[in-house]
Each structure stands twice: as C-alpha cells, then as structure tokens.
Subunit: 155 residues, 2 copies
Amino acid sequence: MKEEKLLLSSQICFPIYSVSRLLTKAYKPHLEDLGITYPQYLVLMVLWENDKVSVNQITEKLLLNTNTMSPLLKRMEKMDLVNRVRSKEDERIVIIALTDKGRELKTKALPIPDRLFDEIVTDKVEIDDMLKLKDTLCQLITVLTVKNEVSVRSE
Amino acid sequence: MKEEKLLLSSQICFPIYSVSRLLTKAYKPHLEDLGITYPQYLVLMVLWENDKVSVNQITEKLLLNTNTMSPLLKRMEKMDLVNRVRSKEDERIVIIALTDKGRELKTKALPIPDRLFDEIVTDKVEIDDMLKLKDTLCQLITVLTVKNEVSVRSE
DNA sequence: CACGCTTATGTCGTGCACGATGCAAATATA
DNA sequence: TATATTTGCATCGTGCACGACATAAGCGTG
C-alpha cells in the first residue's frame, strides 16, 4: 500500500531537486560570460536592487545562512565584484557594496532572463504553467520557512 | 524596461532553488533517524525499486553524473548500505547491490513520504497545486535534459 | 591482429550548503 | 556598573555537484 510512495516517480521533492540543478546548469553558459556562478548572480541581483546592505540582509533575501554567505562574499571580494566594510555605528555589521566592476556587470546581465525564458518556455512548457509554478513555489517557501523558524524557536 | 526582470521577485529559478534547499532541510530530521542524507536516500529508493544495477543506471535515474555518484556510493559502501562489485561479463561495469542493512532501512523509510506530505500540504498549499506543480516540473525536466543532451552532442 | 574509438567508472579541483561552534560587539538585566 | 544574553559574522568539517581529465575495458574497422 505505502510501497508505491517510495517510488521515485511518486515523489514531489525529486523533480524539484532535479529541476533546480538543471536550471542552474542552463544558467551556466550565460553566467560564464560574466565570470560568475549562480549563487554569485543571486547576490549581485540583491545588490543591483539595493546597494550597501549588511550580510544579514542578503542572507535573509536569499534564504541562506551566514556560513554559506561569508565565504561566497569573500570570493566575490577577491574577484573585485564587491567591497566588505565594517559599519562604524555597529562594529558587528559588515556592509557589502558593489565595486564599479560589480555595478557594470548589470548591463551584461540584463539580457539573461529573456534568453533563459526562450530556452525554457517552448511548445512543451507554457507561460501560464510557469506562472502557476512560481505561485505554488512561493506558497511552499512560506510554509517551509515558517516551519523552520518555529522549530528553531521551540528549542 | 528590462530592469524589472533582474529583480529577484521576477525570477522563476530562484524559488525553485530555494524550495529545493528548504525541502532537503525538511527531510533532514527524518533521514537522520536512518543516518543518511537526501542524495543517499534517492540512491536507496532506486535500489529498493530495482536492486543490483550499474552505476550508470543509477545516474540516469537520478540525472546525476558519475563524478558525483562514485564518491557517494563509496560513502554508502563504507556505511555498509551497499556493495560494489565489478561485473564479470563486462569488467568496466560496477554493480551496486543493497546489503541487508540497506534493505532493512526500507521499513524505516516507509512512513517518511506521508510525514513530509502532512508537513507541507496544509491550508496554505493544496494537493491539486502540488500535483500541478509536479506535472510542470516533469515537463521542465524533459525540456532541460533534452536541451542538455543536444548541446553535448553538437560539440 | 592492430589501432582508433567508445563506454563505464573514477580522480581532482572548485564552489556551494549547512550543522556545530567560536568570538567580539551590542544590548538587556540584575 | 558588572554580568548575562543576544546579535552579526566568521571558521571548520562534511557532503554534495560538476567541469575537466584519466584510465581501463570493450568494440569496430581495416
């Protein structure tokens, strides 16, 4: 009875996990032109939208932890994409700011979303399906992050 | 005009990437009871469905490469979950077989899908949405894997 | 049979993710 | 004003992912 639920084909998590990896791979050739990885691209998107933010603000937007973000930002600093400066008001806070090079990458990045969209949305996958997909995923994020916070709090 | 497409909120890839990580995290406490990780759980699901298969057959089902699978399987061998034996007909092929311990884990794993389902599908996320989600994701997998194979072939 | 090509698996280096832990600055509390 | 607690960031260790490359076994063709 329950047997069938252990089939790979019945799982919902597996397709998400696979699509996530496949999409990152689809981004790769485009991002290689800019010399960056997908997580680095995410950080840049946050900064292009809002420059000079704390490490914490970035992790909150990207739902990542500081122990992932810190080394990532250090690599990006070494690549001269961002600067890391400690705030003078609160010495604990590190402010991340775009360098000129990081700011300029935005121009190169502009056509990427459209290019990927063209690759993905074909006769097989419709726009409406993608919008519905995004909708459900965002609901899932809400459920999963709340659940996570609650379980952390209740320790 | 195109500016808005670089907003994190307009991206489809980001929610998939986030949900993938959050779901793996949601699996974690359940899988820790079995002493395994999520990718190891995926390998076991393949083997529970079809024991004694080649490394290649596993990578094809999980859409992973051998350079990810080989170390993963070695760790699982060290944990006494699987055996790795070279085929006698074709010395290149390595056959992966469940150990008794690996087979027995299936019983412990049976209730996991239902438990996760209960955590995720609440008043916020409906069953129909999840089924539709899975549907679209599988279509995406088709598009993305074909695209990948074609681009490899055309080199 | 020799030689080139393909196939199956593996190694290496790099970059995430993340739990556990550390540490110093800021803040709350006695 | 001491001391405890919280907060922000970082380090460490482990386990994926994956591109590039290595290697050995099998296969095809001359």
